[in-house]
Every structure is written in structure tokens, then in C-alpha cells.
Amino acid sequence: MKTLKQIFAIARTEFRFGFRRGAPVAVTVIIGIIVSAGILLGPLSNVSQLPKNLSMPPEQVARLATIGLTPSEWVLFNRDIMGDMFVFSTVMAWLLIFTALLLLPMATSGSIPADRKFGVSELLRSTPITGFVYLAGKILGVLATVLLVGALMLGLFFAITEIILFSTLHYGLSLSASLFLIKLSLLDGLPMLVWGTAVGVLLGVFFHTRRAAIFPGLLAGGVSLVGWALAFRAPGQGYIGMTDLAYYYLIQNYHSSALALESRLGGQDTNMFNIAGASRVGVGQLVLMYLAVIAAFVILMALARLWLKWKENF
């Protein structure tokens, strides 16, 4: 209990500083803008091509009836199709979240050097906290800042999307599309934000000034990006390319209303995410992926801890 409160105290103080120092906030906002812009550019350029007026002549109603659809079902399908179109455009754009791996380590690497800069480090080390508590508190504090800003960006993205869709098509994003994006954020984006933040904070252990940590932070970001893409590359070939297992898993399990309608109309299976020859990725593999990330994180944490012990007797 005491240890948890100590971690929380460090995290809370760091959270306050996170907003004042600006770098983690600014970089998270930039990442959010890049991802949002990537996602929105595609579908919104096509938005005018979708039907705006759903009142239809009797002959069209009759034609729908031949494939077993009522006009209201058609409206619903259209709404879902818009959501799905949005999602299909989004999935590749979502890869831009990889910028979090590249930029966050640089932005968050100043957290521990800042304590040295202010001269507070020695004072903190004189209190009965272990190096683990210190590192855990720092990571949690910076992470809280990044996640809060990230969540705000996600909320902002949804709000902008809904406004644009409603103003042009009078439809909102479909529920399934919204849930898909949230799943993508939690299972795919979240680990990257956590990793990028944690790597940056831990990297700061090795440097005395924030400035000295900037370039190594960028380097660590590059290594993280390449490492992540290589380690979690989807087992399929072709369309998906270099993306991670969580992402692949999500795509595999996304049931598109648009494709369902298309297959109903055309009588064929056109699921674009069924890649020929690719093994199905299950939850087990997804768990394995996160275990691998956690193992790498534990190794980094141990290295940082050893460095603190060796260099600062902490």
C-alpha cells in the first residue's frame, strides 16, 4: 500500500509537469493530427459520391424488394456502408499511429533528466523509495499525460468526423465502425503509446540533460518502429504488409456491413481481409504479442534499474 502510494505520488507530480513541460503533450497532439488527417482525407474526399437523398421512386423500392430489402433496411445499409467505407480508408491510415513509436521516446526522454536539472534527484533518493518505485512512478505519470491527450485527440477525431458526416450525408458513423476504431485504438494504438512513452522515460535514466537525451530518443524511436514492425508483422502476404498482429487480428474479425451487402447483391464473398494462404491469428497470438512487449519492457526496466544502482546507488 505504501509502495503504491509512493508510486502514485511520483506519477501525480510527473503528470502535473507533463503538461507544463509540453513536449509529451505537443508530440501526442502531432501524432493525433497526423493519424486523424490520414484517416479523414480518404473517405471525406469521396463523401459527395454517396447518396444524400434516400427517398426513392416506386420502381427502386420494387427492385430492392427482389433482393429482400425494405427501403428502411436500405437506409441502414447505406449508413453502415458509409461507416465501412470510412473504416476501410482508415485501416491503412491507422498505420500512421506508428509515428508514436518514432516520436514519443524523444518527447518523453526528458522526464528523469529534468529531476537532475532541477537538482531534486538527490533529495528524492534520500527518501525511502526504491529505484523501481521511482521509475514506475515516472513512467505512469508521463503515460497518464500522453494517454489523456491521446484520448482527447480520439474524442476530437470522432466529433469532427460526426460533424462532417452529418453535415454532408445526414448520417453518423455506424456503431460497428465506431467500435472497430475504438478496438483499433485500444488493442493497437494503446500498446504503441505505452511502449513509446516507457522507452523514452527509461532512456532518460542514462542522460543528465534533456537536450542530451533528444537524439538518443529519436534513435530509440527508430529502433522501436523497425523492431515493432519486424516482430509483429502479420503472417499474411500482400495487402496488409508490415503491420502488427493486433492490427491483423482486428481486421480479420471485422464484419463489414458494406461487404455483406455487396456479397448479398452479387452473391459472392468479397471479404478483402481474407488473405489467401495466411494463417488465422487468434487471441492466443495476440496475447503472445503483448507478452513479448511486456518482456522487452521488463528487460529495459531492469537495465535502467541496474544503471541507477550502479551510477547513483539508487
Binding site: M1, K2, K5, Q6, F8, A9, I10, T13, R16, F17, R20, F118, G119, V120, S121, E122, L123, L124, R125, S126, T127, P128, I129, T130, E312, N313
Partner: protein, 289 residues
């Protein structure tokens, strides 16, 4: 009780900071005096569990400073004021003390608030507690440093150069505060200002070039210089070689020098009672010779 035995600390491979230091420090207020670079801060940091000794043994309140468990045990009863105190400029004194109190393991909110209010009162910062520390003067920052050291009711208080940057009134107040604290815990005061020690410590050690030159009471140190401190009045010329001038004062009949050493026969020298500072200077002079 603090026991230091054959303690050596070398930075890198060639820079010795402490050389086979042996010390025993009991309850009360202990002064550690020495010139800059004598090794005082190194010794303080080793006692606080912040620095690993190169060799030797250090036991603080029965805990070995070289083990993780020992360090943690020491830190849980320690109040520490480093020589180079740093504070978060964007926090208020209250927020900072709250932070330190939590790190010191005071999890009960009522107890925490009580202790914070008491220490703020002790250091005279109650009225400024909610101000950001970036607006504080050097003396106020030092007082925040003292307050954070007092949080948690430490059994061992290590203060490294606590009076630097304080005005005379604040120095006196701090000395009194530390003296009061020494009634219930061990206080180790490291300083190069002899006056601070003379006013508050009943036990002291003088450190120079990483070695203990003297260990005893202020009276013992004063006694070392007895019979060697003189007032010499001249019309302007400085006293001869071999004498260390402690102070110079322009008076009506000429210039009065307070010197340590043995003046030549025939000089107008008057033997005076030494102070602790005289004892210290005599000791340093002897160590150089």
C-alpha cells in the same frame, strides 16, 4: 549511533575523497568542519546511503549502508538536506512537502497535513506555503529544504551546509532549530563556517583532504590553540612571517592584527583567549606544515 570504520572513497581511480576515516557519532548535535574539498559532502552522502563507499564499513543506527535493505532502513528514518538543494520551481512549498511526505511513507492524510503544517510553522513559511517556489528567495528555498528534511520526524538529520545563502537572522534561527531537534535525534551538521558549529555543537570533527584531523569537543579544539593567539598592534606593516593573520582591524592607534603562531620577541603582542575559529585555523596550519 553511527560507526565509520576505515572508510575510503575514491572517485574514478585516482581522486581520493576520503582516506581511512574512523568516526563514532552518538546522539545530539555533531559538527563536521573542514575546508571546501575536504570530503565532508562525500561523507554525508555515504552516511545518507546515497553514495557507495570504496572500502570500509559504515553502520548507521545499526544498518549497513552498503546493503539495499540497510539503505532503505536508513532512509526511512533520515532527514537530509543536500548541499546543492534543488526544488521544482512550478510547485508550491505545500505541494512539494506533500510530495516528500508521501515519499517518506506518511500515507495517513491527517498525519501528513499535521506534520506539514508544523514544519512550515517551524521554518516560518506558513504564509507563503501556497506560492510557487520559483518566486522564493534563496533563503526561503533553503527553509523549504529544511522543512522537507524535518518531515517524517527523522531519527537522523543530516544537513550539509545548511546556512549557506541565509541572512544572519535566518542563520541564528536555523541553528536554534537544529539544536532543538538534536534533543530527540542525531543531527549531523556539515559546514565550513566554524561559527555555526561553535554556537550549536558539543561534539565535532575536522576533516581535511579526506582525513580526520581532529575529533573532540569544541573546548578541546579551542584548547589546542591556547597560548598561540595574539593581538599585535602595528602602525601599518603586517606581522612577520610564520604568523597567520586571522583578522585585521583599523583602530585609532594603528592596525590591530589577530594572529596565530609565535610572534618574535619585541613585537607588541598580547596573548588572547582563542576562539573555536582560532583553534580550527591553528589545526589547519599544523596539518599543512
Amino acid at each position: 549511533m553511527i560507526t565509520v570504520s576505515q572508510l575510503t572513497k575514491t572517485y574514478g581511480k585516482k581522486v581520493p575523497a576520503l582516506r581511512e576515516v574512523n568516526l563514532e557519532i552518538g546522539a545530539g548535535m555533531f559538527g563536521l568542519v573542514g575546508p571546501n574539498g575536504a570530503g565532508k559532502t562525500t561523507l554525508m552522502r555515504i552516511l545518507a546511503g546515497l553514495l557507495r563507499p570504496t572500502s570500509g564499513k559504515v553502520s548507521v543506527l545499526g544498518n549497513d549502508v552498503t546493503t539495499s535493505r540497510g539503505k532503505l532502513a536508513i532512509k526511512s528514518v533520515l532527514g537530509y538536506l543536500p548541499q546543492e538543494l534543488g526544488l521544482y520551481p512550478d510547485l508550491s512549498a505545500l505541494e512539494f512537502l506533500e510530495y516528500i511526505a508521501l515519499l517518506k511513507g506518511i500515507t495517513d492524510k491527517t498525519e501528513r497535513e499535521k506534520q506539514i503544517n508544523e514544519t512550515l510553522e517551524l521554518v516560518g513559511l506558513t504564509g507563503d506555503a501556497r506560492r510557487k517556489m520559483r518566486t522564493f528567495s534563496g533563503g526561503m528555498k533553503r527553509r523549504v529544504g529544511i522543512a522537507q528534511a524535518l518531515i517524517g520526524k527523522p531519527q537522523l538529520l543530516i544537513v550539509d551546509e545548511p546556512t549557506s545563502g541565509l541572512d544572519p537572522e535566518e542563520r541564528v534561527r536555523l541553528r536554534n532549530l537544529l539544536a532543538e531537534m538534536s534533543a530527540c535525534c542525531t543531527v549531523i551538521l556539515s559546514t565550513h563556517i566554524v561559527e555555526d558549529v561553535s554556537q550549536s555543537c558539543n561534539d565535532l570533527a575536522v576533516l581535511n583532504l579526506g582525513q580526520v584531523l581532529f575529533r573532540g569537543s569544541p573546548g578541546d579544539l579551542i584548547a589546542q590553540a591556547r597560548g598561540r593567539v595574539w593581538n599585535i598592534l602595528t602602525s601599518g606593516e603586517r606581522p612577520g612571517a610564520g604568523l597567520t593573520v586571522v583578522s585585521t582591524m583599523q583602530i585609532q592607534d594603528g592596525i590591530q592584527y589577530r594572529v596565530i603562531g609565535m610572534p618574535t620577541e619585541g613585537s607588541k603582542a598580547v596573548l588572547v583567549e582563542p576562539s573555536l575559529e582560532d583553534g580550527y585555523i591553528w589545526l589547519m596550519q599544523q596539518s599543512r606544515n
